[in-house]
Assembly symmetry: D3
Homo-oligomer: 137 residues x 6
């Protein structure tokens, strides 16, 4: 149960911006599958288009970080934010990009450790050491 309608393909095809984005999703991913996130965003075609363009720019361009590393960072943020759908979708994406069980296990271990020390630091209200300032200012 969602708070918005999830547009099926018949509905999507009637809205040119939505059709164009769905076509692009399929072309870029080389798959006919368009997941529910995009079907929900399709209620607001401009938001759908901006979000998809943003995702392509951040996750699907050549860059300094390996695509799998980007997915693992995504999982880390989604976990801390408690986003069930996002944890599932990006874990699936990471596995599709080759994440091994060993890498998944280490990812979980780092996420858990960070969760622990984040809480300890906040409960103790530890002041930032001046040595951590590396901005050159």
């Amino acid at each position: 149960m969602a708070t918005v309608k999830l547009l099926d393909d018949a509905e999507a095809d009637t809205i040119p911006t939505v059709k164009a984005v769905f076509d692009d999703i399929r072309a870029v991913r080389k798959s006919d599958f368009v997941n529910n996130f995009w079907r929900g965003l399709a209620n607001d075609p401009a938001l759908l288009k901006r979000t998809w363009e943003g995702l392509k720019a951040v996750m699907m361009t050549e860059g300094a970080l390996d695509p799998l590393v980007r997915e693992m960072i995504y999982i880390a943020v989604s976990t801390a934010n408690g986003c069930t759908y996002c944890v599932h979708s990006h874990t699936a994406a990471a596995k599709a990009k080759g994440m091994t069980d060993a890498q998944h296990g280490e990812l979980l271990a780092v996420i858990g450790l960070a969760g622990q020390t984040n809480h300890l630091v906040t409960a103790m209200q530890i002041p930032v050491d001046p040595q951590f300032d590396l901005t050159g200012r």
Copy 2:
């Protein structure tokens, strides 16, 4: 201002468990610097020891993930949890492990995008697509 005392070296030296952990931190890091997090945890020597052993096991062992990648995952979790100290300390650690400005920029971009889509997904309460189930069960 912290909610606990930050033990200085003179105080730390009077508690054998604390002294042993501080000595190990210095030996492992090849640096005399012991940051405030450990000085706060030192009020509870058993907690200090467990936390340090956990950190070594997760962050400082050979494994399937590059040490820099682990630091970036740590930054991602710490950001989503709003932990100022942790963002600073692990950004400094990532830079010490060679994180370039380009990598830092991409890390920020992924963290920001995940923050955005996490919120969109939760506001729409998107149901998980069955295609994301890859556990084989």
Copy 3:
């Protein structure tokens, strides 16, 4: 599956404070429907009464903000806190108060943008500009 019993009407009728609050909910809302949140709180009649009185004072009085605007603010907070039930119940309430699809789409866009920039700001630990201080102190 909840961690508390959800009191049905027969049980509610046996506890005077609960019955009085349920009657008031029905009278104020002009509907026989009492949603699960109140049925859970009914296990602690004093907490039920305080929470309902608080909700009436904040959400159901004449004031400086339109009732629909208050519901949209409620959705925004509930989204950031990851409260599934709250997102559903207040989206339904906003729709009942006339939220259009266009308004819903813009609400989602603002929530998503805020999620993104909140994460970017925290990851960069941006210091507050003194120009933002408008308290006159």
Copy 4:
């Protein structure tokens, strides 16, 4: 720097509701000190009064939980929510109610462990065991 004015005593004395609440805070706490939280809320006298009445009902009545235990629960929530002011004010309150260093250390250890396992559970999306349902429904 706050987003609202913090009313000093001279300003508070000119608003009857605010003066009455501040007088009650001083009487109940047997101290002349009114902390900044109430001085900020005083900009909205009705909100100030409701919040203070709520706090008295929850934190200052005889009940099934020891007052110190309530403060420790408050610290736990405030830590997970990343509320610096709240962590400081309720740690001070807990110490004033007799929290020992050993109790504080154990509180921190539980908070840290919960932070860790919360993150692990969310990253793995563990389904709830049916054995945990004890509501009798």
Copy 5:
């Protein structure tokens, strides 16, 4: 202290994309002031440009929601996410768009109430009432 350099105008002027965005910020806002958020993002000109374009699309276009309402929603999300900088900057923006003290007080009251009921709902794990499903599916 930030984790990135905050580019001053002299540095910004040497990077065409950054200069163009800063010029646009000044033109759109009719003010010479460029706040620190943009100066931090300027380290990654593409991220700066995308973020600014996104902000203009969501916050500065004609639409179904009043610009002040959008700022209040922004404050609500930023509060729940614990983003100090964002709370300050968007409270200043809301005041610049005419938010009165009465509106600010009601905004705070709704944010506080939502925070309370979000926590109560989550602690009780209240199941969603089927009546809240208004998607027509």
Copy 6:
């Protein structure tokens, strides 16, 4: 649906570290029931072992806090973090340790109040009163 396999007993028995931990869980708890959290962690035997050892050290040792109090603190953190599984499992654990309905109600009331005031404080950005500094430094 989890992002990892939940190991059943037959699988667990083939991995010595996993078998040893499961045996210890059963011995310590005097119950044959091993809940899903441990079955998920079992994919990474070292993480399983560290997490179980950490839990025993924090939750199952003699100390300054009553075991039931520790469970209530755990529930408080898990609620603020929005961890459904954790709220369920630790509410069940608290009930098994004797938490009464009255105690549960008060726990909920404190969690709700803290959620409310955490949000109010953050939205107002209240500065910490110097009187709260009790560290002696």
